[in-house]
């Protein structure tokens, strides 16, 4: 118990929680945008892999860090375009296409990695984004290191939640996206293109997923490994459900989730952790995700047209 208290009172724990949450926040916002427009994007896992690799590779090849983030964003949007074109105008199963995009993005990443670095045994390192402590605020106890001594990409993640909320609920564009996820027929009847709105949303969302992946190689770590995304994409899908398709709640879910993750890492190092198999701790995030889905089942208002393809003038 005392050990638990020690962990919770350490600033490093809160800093770690926010750091772990950052890629999840990006990707969760990305998935949320897609689903609010009516498209389930199961490409998320693969797109995160591609983003992680693309950002890192760009920096390794000599581009700067921010251009690297832009490259990841672009790669994510490209896979989003593939997903969007296949599921929106062609109306293919979003399940199958999503899994297919995950396979495609993952395989393309691995293939490119081997092509680019045929000889290496250990992947090279880059100089990742450095923490950018905000004067005064970062000296606050607990929340200082947690919120004000992170890398710029973490600040961007929080900014991203704010931007997604504002766009979804305050702008004509956000209204059109939400309407497309509720009743695409209503969008079409008001003279807007459901196809354009949905493909646009999937591209934007996929871009954010890729940036979430890039966070892993450019901020959390400094290198690219296979399997480094390790199910984070699937967890983000659970987080969207947990957040009831609302950006603020999804952010809360991501932070809560990351908190548990940071906690399990630290608990492993306690005497209790030594007695229990470490796999138990590693499995905790996945178990929590399932529990979150179960807890939210039947509570949330699912976008009414989620996974329903729209065909103009269907008779």
């Amino acid at each position: 118990m005392e050990a638990l208290l020690d962990i919770l009172l350490a600033g490093s724990f809160w800093a770690a929680a926010v750091r772990i949450a950052s890629p999840l926040i990006f990707a969760t916002m990305g998935e949320l945008i897609c689903e609010r427009a009516g498209v389930l994007n199961l490409g998320i896992e693969g797109i995160m892999v591609a983003g992680a690799f693309a950002g890192w590779m760009a920096v390794y090849s000599g581009l700067g860090l921010w251009p690297g983030v832009a490259v990841a964003l672009g790669v994510g949007m490209a896979f989003g375009l593939i997903h969007g074109v296949l599921t929106v105008p062609f109306g293919l199963s979003q399940h199958v296409v999503g899994l297919g995009v995950t396979l495609l993005a993952t395989a393309a990443t691995y293939y490119t990695y081997r092509l680019a670095l045929p000889e290496v045994t250990a992947p090279p390192r880059i100089a990742p984004l450095a923490p950018l402590p905000i004067p005064i605020l970062s000296d606050l106890p607990l929340i200082g290191p947690a919120l004000f001594a992170q890398t710029p990409l973490t600040y961007l993640a929080f900014g991203c939640v704010l931007a997604v909320s504002l766009i979804l609920y305050r702008t004509p564009l956000g209204l059109a996206v939400r309407a497309a996820g509720e009743n695409p027929g209503a969008v079409e009847a008001q003279g807007l293109s459901v196809t354009a709105i949905r493909i646009g949303a999937v591209m934007a969302g996929s871009g954010l997923m890729a940036v979430g992946g890039a966070f892993l190689t450019m901020s959390a770590f400094d290198s690219f490994f296979f399997e480094m995304v390790n199910g984070r994409g699937w967890i983000c899908i659970a987080l969207v459900v947990f957040g009831a398709w609302k950006p603020g709640k999804a952010l809360l879910g991501a932070l809560l989730f990351a908190g548990f993750d940071a906690l399990q890492i630290r608990l492993q190092q306690t005497p209790l952790g030594a007695d229990l198999p470490y796999q138990l701790f590693l499995a905790l995030p996945y178990v929590l995700s399932i529990l979150a889905l179960v807890a939210m089942s039947r509570r949330a208002q699912v976008p009414a047209a989620l996974m329903v393809p729209f065909n103009r003038g269907e008779r």
Partner: protein
């Protein structure tokens, strides 16, 4: 706002011609091959040579062919598992975990815990392994039918959880004391091993079992009330429920069948090929099963063909990458491309894209 002509929409083709029904899938295949050539060219190799090496490595010799069939065996099982489930619109993405469940049970019962002659022991293990795989899918299926929790995410997440469980088993209770520290189980006793189909032939009876399973699944689908129910539930669950089909029971039965089939992949790999359980027993057979099933249009007999085709690409790519300087991941990439193009081609046999 710019007016660039009317937007596109899909129009159903009432009676698609045969040229369309065969031509489009063929086109998808050709496009996949073209992309393969392009990928080889990207790697700095001669495209035709690479393609030739893949075909040769997959089917160029008796050894290559048998290797392909061996590799196809677990894919037939996982492909069948996915095909059965997807037909009922049960999105079982957890074949990977169910495969390991079957493997774990095989090791539990097959390493000397039960002493029986092979003709009794093997059926026992098969039954127990299937039950384990079924049990693993039953959880997500129940969450779906009872609480409406989406099974895609739960089955996916279970893959990670179960693999960690297997890792725990292999480092703890099931660890081979003679394994020199490697996380590896003890070896199966001889009675628990699947014999080879013919003496001297490097192909085990797991392949035979896979063919039998494909035939059984086909009979279930075409001839039994369960098969009819699965089709009705998959095509329109609402109409099926209204007409009195016990939809939830059908989904649970489907889950049982699907999980059991996936588990057989694990059984067959351990009892037929590896003889012991390691953490790298499956290089993603569960996920590749999805590609296999989709390429087979969810038809159980076509799953066999599709599994051999997919296995051939893997085996061929492995052998090719030893000879040419093209990464073996070309196989995964091609399968993803083939999957997406084939799904698109199949859809477009029934529809055309028109303006207005």
């Amino acid at each position: 706002m710019a007016m660039t002509g009317p937007a596109m929409r899909l129009e159903r083709i009432i009676a698609p011609s045969w040229s369309r029904r065969l031509g489009l899938p063929a086109l998808a295949l050709v496009a996949t091959v073209a992309i393969a050539a392009w990928l080889a060219w990207l790697a700095g190799a001669a495209p035709l040579t690479v393609l030739g090496l893949i075909v040769d490595g997959a089917a160029g010799s008796k050894f290559a062919l048998l290797e392909t069939l061996n590799r196809a065996t677990p894919l037939i099982f996982t492909g069948l598992a996915v095909a059965v489930a997807f037909r009922a619109r049960l999105w079982n993405i957890g074949a990977e975990a169910q495969l390991y469940a079957g493997a774990v049970v095989t090791v539990l019962l097959g390493t000397g815990a039960i002493v029986l002659p092979a003709p009794l022991l093997l059926p026992l293990i098969v039954g127990a392994a299937m039950l384990a795989g079924a049990a693993l899918l039953l959880g997500p299926a129940l969450l779906k039918t009872r609480l409406g929790v989406d099974e895609v995410v739960t089955t996916l997440l279970l893959n990670f959880i179960f693999l960690l469980f297997v890792s725990y088993l292999l480092e703890g209770p099931m660890k081979d004391p003679m394994g020199m520290g490697w996380p590896k189980s003890e070896r199966l006793v001889d009675a628990a091993r699947l014999p080879r189909i013919a003496e001297g032939l490097r192909l085990h009876w797991g392949f035979g079992l896979a063919l039998i399973c494909a035939a059984i699944v086909w009979v279930i689908q075409a001839r039994t009330t369960l098969g009819y129910e699965i089709r009705a539930v998959g095509l329109n669950a609402r109409a099926a429920r209204f007409a009195g089909v016990p939809v939830n029971a059908v989904i649970l039965k489907t889950a049982f069948l699907s999980g059991g089939l996936a588990a057989l992949a694990g059984f067959s790999e351990v009892a037929g090929l590896k003889g012991a359980l390691t953490l790298d027993l499956s290089p993603g057979f569960g996920y590749t099963g999805i590609v296999v099933a989709m390429l087979a249009l969810l038809h159980p007999l076509a799953v066999v063909v599709s599994a051999i085709f997919v296995a051939g690409i893997f085996v061929g790519a492995d052998s090719m990458s030893r000879a040419a300087d093209v990464p073996t991941y070309i196989a995964d990439l091609l399968l993803a491309v083939a999957l997406l193009l084939m799904v698109l081609a199949i859809k477009m046999t029934g529809f055309r894209l028109v303006r207005g």
